[in-house]
Amino acid sequence: MALLEIEGLTGGYGPVQVLHELDLEVGDGEVVVVLGANGAGKTTTLRAISGMISAKGRITLGGTSIVGKSPERVARLGVAHVPQGRGTFTDLTVEENLRLGGYARKGGVAEDVQRWFTTFPRLEERRTQQAGNLSGGEQQMLAIARGLMSRPRLLLLDEPSLGLAPLITQDLFQRLSAINEEMGTAMLIVEQNANLALAIAKRAYVLETGSIISSGPASEVQQDDAVRKAYLGY
């Protein structure tokens, strides 16, 4: 049984239905990428998983149904969602942002804060600064570290490369890959920058108007002619 199983998921915003009978799976420790054009429903899929919008269908995490649960319940069950735009607590300090990531945990928060400071020394230099003053790349690092502070079973990443310079984006995906190898955290990544995402992913899904139109190992999806034309640009 996969860590995350989604079957026949429908959902949207009020009367506007965005997702139509969507099926998707993420295995334990697996990195999965979802590709799709703007408006295909990528963000909506992540929001449905983390409980930010109401959805119908089946979503299970490690066998437990999480459909209809509040975001705070889903978070406590082991899903960390790094939203588009990074969701930084802009008025709080860098360190407070990290501590909040471990809010639902009983102990070990201070140790983990130190751990991420070691991984991202840039954040440690700025530990007492307001997080809103960080650069885009630094905020993305902070958001990912904040997500991992909860020691999640599944990390949801929504357009992590948005607004970042190409070199920083490359570094970001290398780090994600390293984190996945080291901690074994499963990741579901929604990304426009398909090449970089596919390079670190094991499997990929292609989303169009709220349904999966193709899926498979990342390397195969990367070779698929239709996908290459539509999303990879060559």
Partner: protein, 293 residues
């Protein structure tokens, strides 16, 4: 000089009360983004509860503490029942809800406790001290001490506890706070509960300085507290305290020194606020919102 000092003491005494109601306003504004126009009437109702206890022979300090506890629960219920359903509505809708609460709570207080004058004993002794040729009352000292303790407790709660961190997280970004597992609804309820308890405390402080407890007791206090919060910045606890003191002192001084204005002394604090807001629209200590996207 003696006259100046005595007016200064009166001003500080009043200012402390405006500051504590302004703190309650700031608390709700920071956590929910709502200007609670009913804050004064909530405090009025709490003060009637305090009075009821003392009327039954309870010592006043105990009555205040008990009333604060009841108000805390009442504030949480108000958030859950009246505010939550309109939480995501337009600011105008929420303003109308809190204005409605203003009228409803005031009427409810009149209905339950009557419109007659009530005497609420002061929690402070009636000692007077002679300082630099003028008198300083234990009341004024007590008020300042209560505000100081209040600020200290709030500071520790917000800056040094995990719950305080969660509060600030909800105030800053509701969505992200839920995504890290914070029960934002509970935090909002607790915020309203605390504001209501602070109001109960403020009411019990201010009413003994007035001729009597009547249904309109908190109305001018609310106006001046709003002024204090606007002056200091609605998102700044420090601003609430400084704003409260400035308004209190300016009010007392005008009353004393400018004959023509002694019936309409409200003019001065408001002229001051107008001036400050012209140059600093977010108040003296308010933050200009800077966001990088």
């Amino acid at each position: 000089m003696a006259l100046f000092l005595s007016q200064l003491f009166i001003g500080i005494g009043n200012g402390v009360v405006y500051a504590s109601v302004a703190l309650a306003l700031v608390l709700i504004f920071r956590t929910t983004g709502i200007l609670n126009f009913a804050q004064g009437e909530m405090a009025l109702f709490s003060t009637y509860i305090t009075w009821k206890f003392t009327d039954h022979g309870m010592p006043v300090v105990l009555a205040i503490i008990l009333s604060m506890a009841i108000s805390f629960i009442g504030g949480m219920i108000i958030e859950r029942v009246l505010i939550r359903p309109v939480e995501s509505a337009s600011p105008l809708t929420i303003v109308i809800v809190t204005l409605g609460m203003f009228l409803a709570i005031n009427s409810l207080a009149q209905l339950i406790f009557g419109t007659g004058e009530k005497q609420l004993p002061s929690p402070f002794p009636s000692h007077r001290y002679h300082v630099l040729g003028t008198t300083l009352t234990a009341q004024t000292i007590g008020l300042v001490a209560v505000l100081a303790v209040e600020c200290l407790v709030l500071y520790i709660l917000f800056q040094r506890t995990k719950m305080g961190l969660a509060f600030r997280a909800v105030a800053n970004n509701v969505e992200s706070s839920r995504l890290v597992g914070i029960n934002s609804g509970l935090m909002l309820m607790l915020g309203w509960g605390m504001a209501a308890a602070l109001g109960a405390l403020a009411g019990a402080m201010v009413v003994p300085t007035q001729p009597a407890l009547v249904p309109s007791s908190m109305q001018s206090v609310l106006v001046l507290s709003f002024a204090a919060a606007a002056l200091g910045g609605f998102d700044s606890p420090l601003g609430a305290v400084v704003g409260g003191l400035v308004v209190g002192v300016a009010d007392a001084m005008t009353h004393q020194y400018i004959d023509g204005l002694d019936q309409i002394e409200l003019v001065v604090p408001f002229a001051l606020i107008l001036l400050v807001l012209l140059f600093r629209p977010n108040g003296l200590f308010g933050k200009t919102v800077v966001e990088r996207v």
